[in-house]
Structures are given as structure tokens and as C-alpha cells.
């Protein structure tokens, strides 16, 4: 759709090769389009946890993110372009967050601020914590830190602007909203015995059937991981024992040596702690 329209914009004074015509118009349009979009990113006024305090600190006069066009924070998702997920996302909260995201008009962006929003953060192990908002929403920029300082957030925002600068009308894979029609809303999770992502219903059903047959529900064993250094050591040990049994170290001795080394390390640590006092 976009391509046919754009051909009309081309300057007839300069002949452009047939195969390049669409691209050239898009590039200059891209620039204007991206510039205007990235210079008026309005974040959703919406704070979750500790990071929200730093976000407000960034909005305040000392750091002032309106200098970058993050001008006003809008209370309504209908008026905002950017969702700054500022803090720990809990299972109870992800339901409204997904709803809010669905209500935002496209093009829309998500910035995960802080460790919690990116990947669960220090609370990752908690039973009510979603380990990263990207489990439910597409995240454009991650800002690490716990909490990120205002300047770190500003850097994240500039990073987002760079991302927008790189987007093109011609590349529909990169930016879904240039396609025809509105995109599908993200399915809203359901609070059951635990949170249920509707996109995973098939998988859950499958696992539930297996659980009825007394298989563990949802657990997955990680493949055993071997330290490459240890592999090397094993082979060399074998070689050594072939060379001569006296030089080789039998497992019992190795274990004893290891224990002693550990004890030495502990002792050294204790001494160091004393010395540092």
C-alpha cells in the first residue's frame, strides 16, 4: 500500500532507476516521519515501584526528559506512545499492564526500566513476580540498574530514539504497524491458581495431561553442563595414569588436596577480613 502511494511523491526532474524509485522516496519520508515521531514520544504516566521514583526524578527539573520530546506524561493510554515499565511487574499487575498496552495506539514502544522490569530483578524468585515484562509484551529497550539513575534512564530514552531513527516504512518485519490494519491485541493473562498466559493454553493442557500421568508439571531438567576445563583435566589424568601410576593423582588424593585448598582460601579470606579492619 505504502509503496504505490509513495511513487507519486518523486521528483520528475531527476530520473531515478525504476528499481530504486520506491526506496528513495521512503528514505526521505522515513527521516521526516521518524524525526517527528521520536521527538514527541509521550510516556504513559504510570509508575510501578522504586524505579518510578527515579522516573519522576528524571521528569523533574534537574534532569528533565522533556528536552528529548518526552514532553508530557499522559495519564491515558490512548494518548501515549511509550510505556515505561518502571518497576517490579507482579502477576496481579501484569493483567492491567497488558490491557493498558492494548489500549495504546500504534506505533507504541515499551521501555523496561530497571532490573525487575527487564528480568525480575532481585525479586525474581518470588512467587508473585513476573520475571521480565518481555514475557508478555514486546520490549524495545532495556535499561539495567536497580534502580537506574535518571541519567541512565535518559540514556535508555536516547537509545530508544536511535532505534526509531533506524526504522523504515519499507521494512514491515521491523515495524508491524506500517502493515495494513490494526495489529492483533496481546492476549490478556488470566489469574487462575497461578497466572495463565492464553498463548500457552495448548502447552498447559498438554502438561496437565502429563501431570495426570504423574509426570512433573512444567519442570524441565537442564542438560548437564560440563566445565570445559574439567573435561581437559580428565583426559590428561587418563594420560598420566597411562604414563605411570606414581605421578597420577588418584581421586581420593585430589579430593583431599581440594579440601585443603578450600580451607586455605577460607583462612586467607578470614585473615584478609581481619587485616582490612
Amino acid at each position: 500500500m505504502a509503496q504505490t502511494d509513495l511513487r507519486a511523491l518523486q521528483d520528475t526532474e531527476f530520473p531515478v532507476p525504476e528499481e530504486l524509485q520506491a526506496n528513495i522516496a521512503i528514505t526521505s519520508l522515513d527521516k521526516i516521519y521518524n524525526w517527528s515521531r521520536r521527538s514527541s514520544m509521550w510516556p504513559l504516566l504510570f509508575g510501578l515501584a522504586c524505579c518510578a521514583i527515579e522516573m519522576i526524578g528524571t521528569a523533574a527539573s534537574r534532569f528533565d526528559f522533556s528536552r528529548f520530546g518526552f514532553e508530557v506524561m499522559r495519564g491515558s493510554p490512548r494518548q501515549s506512545d511509550l510505556m515505561i515499565v518502571s518497576g517490579t511487574v507482579t502477576k496481579k499487575m501484569i493483567v492491567p499492564i497488558v490491557r493498558l498496552y492494548n489500549q495504546m495506539p500504534e506505533p507504541k514502544y515499551v521501555l523496561a526500566m530497571g532490573a525487575c522490569a527487564s528480568g525480575g530483578g532481585p525479586f525474581k524468585e518470588g512467587y508473585n513476580v513476573v520475571s521480565g515484562v518481555d514475557k508478555y509484551l514486546p520490549v524495545d529497550v532495556y535499561v539495567p540498574g536497580c534502580p537506574p539513575t535518571p541519567q541512565a534512564l535518559l540514556y535508555g530514552m536516547i537509545t530508544l530514539q536511535k532505534k526509531i531513527d533506524g526504522q523504515s516504512l519499507a521494512n514491515l518485519d521491523d515495524v508491524p504497524w506500517y502493515g495494513v490494519g490494526p495489529s492483533e491485541p496481546t492476549p490478556v493473562p488470566v489469574l487462575g491458581p497461578d497466572i495463565i498466559d492464553p498463548r500457552q493454553m495448548e502447552l498447559i493442557r498438554e502438561q496437565a495431561q502429563q501431570a495426570a500421568l504423574e509426570a512433573p508439571f512444567g519442570a524441565r531438567e537442564l542438560p548437564a553442563w560440563v566445565n570445559p576445563a574439567e573435561v581437559a583435566q580428565e583426559t590428561t589424568v587418563v594420560e598420566e595414569t597411562q604414563d605411570g601410576a606414581e605421578d597420577g593423582i588418584d581421586p581420593a588424593t585430589a579430593a583431599r588436596i581440594r579440601k585443603r585448598e578450600e580451607a586455605m582460601a577460607r583462612l586467607a579470606a578470614r585473615r584478609a577480613a581481619k587485616g582490612g579492619q
Binding site: 515501584a49 492491567p96 512467587y127 514475557k135
Partner: protein
């Protein structure tokens, strides 16, 4: 006769306990476990004993209610109550024990209405049924959640080990993300008998049923005008709820008929994680409770663990300089917090951002000092057991590291002196002129959200909310800690208990904090060079016992109930780690305060309570 009653309310803790024991020799026994104190009350007699504790002995203020699961130690559940007198003094601890299979304890809401939310929390997280509780629903998790997570035999999806440090981290540290171990790639754990047939969003039905919407519409209105009650949801995403707090408000026209707070949108499982952590591990987690005043959160926790440690052999209390530094930080935090809360109270009133920006300017100056001293603006993690992290630096100096970095270099003591003696008083005067006599502010706040003194005490409110109602109860005076006894300061209290009084009390508290800081600075000069921390290592041996450390946080009484299992060879983790969060308990008063006011006043009343969700939901 009157004299006897008056005497009883003056009895100290042990005499009070003796008196109770005489009255109920069978139902009350001393808690004789090592390191524990207080009494154990037979649940059957709990109501009567509680009434006697409140009315005869004068413990009118129920500070904290919490459950403990002693699985594997004694195989029972315990409900622990801390009751205090608003006139001051330490807490009377009493406990009720009940079996783990069907834990039941009579509710004390009729005695202390402030137990309402705390009992609901214990029900939610432990499954303890409080017989006679008017509205026993889950409070932090949603209806239909599988299990009661704080029970010791309950494990979450990302469960790795019972105690930290985890063995998988060292020496064979195979890095992995916890979600890789889950087929769903998420932090989920479904029960084996998951019924996929009924997975509608049923989790809210109980909430709406509790609102009394089933009222007969015709009967509501006798004049013949057809009116209906309207339910309005405020939050969890609402700019004025100070986070992810939700209120379900039933409106009659524009007047509030009932208000039901819904919490748990930031329930980060602080206590479950805290029981897995070692004692030291918990310190940075306390930063994230009330994330505006991390320094005072640290102090409360340090006090609680120091209470336990002081029963052991090798422990020396913090030095004088460490205490001075603690008070310095805590009082600066109080100013930071009140600046923030006043700014946002004005924001809620419609004075969008100007008062906030002015307040934030001063706040940033204090944060710069925090950053230079502790390393972080918000998450200070500054207190340690028996001291503080490090002494204040000689100079607040930054070093250029990144491109375009601009450096600052100030002498720390000059910076502090200038701030405390000139800048902050000047700013407070200016802020006073800006706001206090503003007619719009007064119109919106005077007489709104009134909380009477008796109600404030009964509802266990604390901090500026309680003091604005005319109860000069401040833990710094009532149960002094650190070097507060030797400092000269007043406890500001209001008269009317409305929003305006809370505003004034906060303002006055900032001035008092400045006054305290002025006394601290010379003490810092004098104690220069003293050590600030007694090193006790990263895993101190914590003796068995319980401790309740409480401090006057900017938002109110913050208490930590810590139980140590005390096995010298085992992992050094708290068996129970409970936070008595002022924001959480202050919300008990929100509903009663709002009823009868207009819907526009709700956000103001909420703003005047000054909640922080990290602490409310934990």
C-alpha cells in the same frame, strides 16, 4: 477504685504479665523458649485476655499481628501480637498457638479494629482462619491462588534451595536463567489438578460481592427519584494512587458510600525471600520496602537483628559516631520523604508539579549527599549490624569517567552545614509562604478526611496520620532508640485530624528534623576519627530468639519481627522475617475516613496518608 485502674495502666511489662497470669492461670503461660519473651494465650480465652490487656492494662495500641509457621521445630502455627501503650513504653508480646492442619484463632478486630488488614494478611499468607473476622478475604494475592505461600512447606516455581547461598553458584557456577528450568518459560506453577474448564476471571467476584451492591435500589430512595449506586474503580493504574494501589469506590451520586482498598499489585514476596536470605542479605531488600526512605528502613532492620545479636557473646554495640551517622541519615531521610509526600499531596490537589519541583530540588541536594556517602541515590543500603557501611567521605567528589562528565567537589561537612543551617530552613520558610496559607489548599483540606484520636488509635494508625489526630505518639519518644534520648526535639501533633493538620504536622516534623540535624553536626565534628562499624563478618552467628525492632519511619512506626532459629552450624537465616509496614496498616483508616466525602477528596485523603506501595504490598 479509680486509683487502682490508673495504677494498672502504669504497670511495667512483667507486672502486667503477672497480673494476667493470676487472672487466667490455666490459659496463660510464659513463653519459656530460649530468647523468646511474652506470654502464650490459649486461643479459647484470647478475646477475654485481649480485652483485659486493652482496657485494664492500658495497651490501647495494637502494633503488629503476624503469623509464624513452626514446621519442623514445634509443628504448630503461632499468631504473634505486639500491643503498646500510646503513652509510651515497650510492647507487650502475646501469642496464640494453633495446629497446622486447621489453624484457627479468634479474631481480635472487635478489640483492636486495626487488626483487620493484618489478620487478613496472615490468612492470605498462612491460611490461619480468624473466627469472627468481618471480611476474611485474601488481601495481597488474588482469590483462587493456589496455597498459602508463607507456609514453610510451600514452594514457588523458581524454588531452588531452602536457604541462600545456593550451592549452584560456587564452585561449579553453571549460569542459567531460572525460566529455562520451566517448560512455560515463566515463573508459574500450576497444581496437578488444574481445572482448565473454569478459568474465567473469577478472582474479582468476591470483591464485588463484599461491596453491598445487592441493595434494593427502590429502597435507597424514598422520594421517588430513581438513583442507583455506582461502582468506580480507581487504580491500579491511576496517576494519583502513588503507585499501583486500587480503590473500589461505591458512589451515591458524588458521595462515597463505601471504599474498599485492593492491594497486592506490588506484592514482591519480600517476606518469603527474606526467610531464604541470610540476615545480611535482607539489608538491601529493606531498601526496597519504602523506597523513598531507605535509610530508616535499614535502621529498623539493623535494630531488630542487633537485639538478637546482643544476646550472643561476641557483639559490641555501635560506636557513638555510628549512632550519630545513623541519626543524621534517618533525619535527612525524614526530610526527603516529607518533601516528596507534600509535593505529591499538592499534586493530587491539582497544584500540578510546581510544589513538587521545588521540593524535588532540595531533595536532590540530599540525595547527592546520600549518593556520595552510600553509593546510591535511593537504595542506600547504608546501615550494618553494629554500625554503618562507611564513614561520610571527606569530600563529596565525583570523578569524570564518561564522555562529557562534569565534576563536582565539595567539602562534606561544609555541604552539610550549609544545607542544615541555611538552605533547608530558608527553603522551608519559602515553602511555608508558598503553601500553608493558600486559600485553595485550605478549602480543599480543612475538615476533610477527619480521623478522631480514639479511632486513630483503635485503627492502629501511626506516624503523621496518628499525630495529626492529636496523639503525640512517636517511637523516638515512646520507645527510644539510638541517641534520641539525648537530643532535644518536639513531637508535633495536630488537633482536628484532617488533611490540613497532617500537612502541618509533616511540615513541622521537617523543622524538627532540621533542629535535630543542627544538634548532630557538632557531635559529628567531635567524634571524628572514631570507627563506624564493628566488623562481624558477612554471616554473623545469630543466637536463637525473637526480636521486634521498631523505628519511627517518616511514614510511621516501622517494625521488624525477626525470629532466629539459632542453629550455630546451620544456615544463618531468619526463620521468620515480618515487616510491620506503616503504609499498609495506615490504609485500614482509609475507608472510614473517606465515607461521606466527595469522590474528588479520595485522592487527597489517600495522599495525606502518604503510602508507598513497596511497603504496603511488600
Amino acid at each position: 477504685m479509680m486509683d487502682v485502674v490508673a495504677d494498672k495502666t502504669q504497670l511495667d511489662i512483667s507486672a502486667s504479665i503477672e497480673l494476667l497470669r493470676e487472672r487466667w492461670p490455666d490459659a496463660i503461660s510464659h513463653d519459656n523458649r530460649d530468647g523468646f519473651s511474652g506470654i502464650i494465650v490459649d486461643p479459647a480465652q484470647l478475646d477475654d485476655v485481649a480485652l483485659a490487656i486493652r482496657d485494664e492494662l492500658g495497651f490501647d495500641y495494637l502494633s503488629s499481628v503476624t503469623g509464624v509457621d513452626y514446621l519442623g521445630i514445634a509443628d504448630h502455627m503461632e499468631v504473634v501480637y505486639h500491643a503498646c501503650r500510646t503513652s509510651g513504653g515497650p510492647a507487650l508480646v502475646f501469642k496464640a498457638q494453633t495446629g497446622r492442619d486447621d489453624p484457627r484463632v479468634p479474631s481480635l478486630v472487635s478489640v483492636w479494629p486495626g487488626a483487620d488488614f493484618q489478620e487478613r494478611e496472615a490468612y492470605d499468607l498462612y491460611g490461619i482462619h480468624f473466627d469472627g473476622h468481618p471480611d476474611l478475604r485474601r488481601i495481597l494475592l488474588w482469590d483462587g491462588f493456589d496455597g498459602h505461600p508463607l507456609r514453610k512447606d510451600w514452594q514457588e516455581a523458581y524454588f531452588e534451595e531452602e536457604h541462600k547461598p545456593f550451592d549452584s553458584r560456587w564452585p561449579g557456577g553453571q549460569v542459567y536463567r531460572a525460566e529455562e528450568k520451566n517448560v512455560f518459560g515463566k515463573n508459574v506453577r500450576y497444581p496437578d489438578d488444574l481445572d482448565l474448564g473454569r478459568l474465567n476471571d473469577v478472582s474479582e467476584s468476591d470483591l464485588y460481592q463484599g461491596l453491598g451492591l445487592g441493595v434494593d435500589v427502590q429502597a435507597l430512595d424514598s422520594d421517588g427519584l430513581r438513583t442507583d449506586r455506582l461502582v468506580v474503580n480507581l487504580g491500579p493504574h491511576h496517576p494519583s494512587t502513588h503507585g499501583v494501589f486500587r480503590m473500589v469506590v461505591t458512589l451515591d451520586g458524588e458521595t462515597i458510600a463505601s471504599l474498599d482498598p485492593v492491594m497486592g499489585y506490588l506484592h514482591r514476596n519480600h517476606e518469603k525471600i527474606g526467610e531464604r536470605n541470610s540476615f545480611l542479605h535482607n539489608m538491601p531488600f529493606t531498601d526496597r520496602l519504602d523506597y523513598i526512605s531507605s535509610m530508616s528502613n535499614n535502621l529498623g532492620y539493623a535494630l531488630a537483628v542487633e537485639q538478637l545479636l546482643s544476646q550472643g557473646a561476641r557483639y559490641s554495640p555501635p560506636t557513638y559516631r555510628a549512632e550519630c551517622l545513623r541519626v543524621l541519615m534517618v533525619e535527612l531521610t525524614r526530610i526527603v520523604n516529607h518533601l516528596w509526600s507534600l509535593g505529591f499531596l499538592l499534586n493530587d490537589l491539582g497544584a500540578f508539579f510546581t510544589p513538587m519541583l521545588y521540593a524535588n530540588n532540595e531533595r536532590e541536594k540530599i540525595l547527592d549527599f546520600f549518593e556520595a556517602t552510600s553509593g546510591s541515590r535511593l537504595m542506600c543500603n547504608y546501615m550494618r549490624f553494629a554500625g554503618v557501611y562507611r564513614d561520610i567521605p571527606e569530600r563529596i567528589r565525583s570523578v569524570a569517567n564518561l564522555v562529557n562528565d562534569k565534576v563536582r567537589d565539595y567539602n562534606t561537612m561544609d555541604y552539610l552545614t550549609e544545607m542544615v543551617n541555611e538552605r533547608l530552613p530558608r527553603f522551608l520558610d519559602e515553602y511555608d509562604t508558598l503553601l500553608t496559607r493558600n486559600e485553595i489548599l485550605r478549602e480543599r483540606t480543612v475538615g476533610v478526611g477527619v480521623l478522631l484520636a480514639e479511632d486513630a488509635i483503635a485503627l492502629s494508625t501511626c506516624g503523621p496520620l496518628l499525630r495529626a489526630s492529636g496523639v503525640p505518639y512517636d517511637v523516638r519518644r515512646a520507645d527510644p532508640y539510638s541517641i534520641y534520648p539525648e537530643l532535644d526535639f518536639n513531637i508535633p501533633a495536630g488537633k482536628n485530624g484532617d488533611i490540613y493538620d497532617r500537612f502541618l504536622v509533616r511540615f513541622q516534623e521537617m523543622r524538627e528534623s532540621v533542629r535535630i540535624l543542627k544538634q548532630i553536626l557538632p557531635r559529628l565534628e567531635q567524634s571524628q576519627g572514631e570507627a563506624v562499624v564493628t566488623k562481624i563478618g558477612h554471616t554473623p552467628r545469630v543466637p536463637v530468639g525473637e526480636a521486634y525492632g521498631r523505628v519511627e519511619n517518616p511514614k510511621g512506626e516501622l517494625g521488624y519481627y525477626v525470629v532466629s532459629e539459632g542453629d550455630p552450624k546451620g544456615p544463618q537465616n531468619p526463620w521468620r522475617y515480618h515487616v510491620r509496614a506503616p503504609s499498609f496498616i495506615n490504609l485500614t483508616a482509609l475507608g472510614p475516613m473517606c465515607v461521606g466525602h466527595k469522590v474528588a477528596d479520595v485522592v487527597t485523603i489517600l495522599g495525606s496518608i502518604d503510602i508507598v506501595l513497596g511497603e504496603t504490598d511488600r
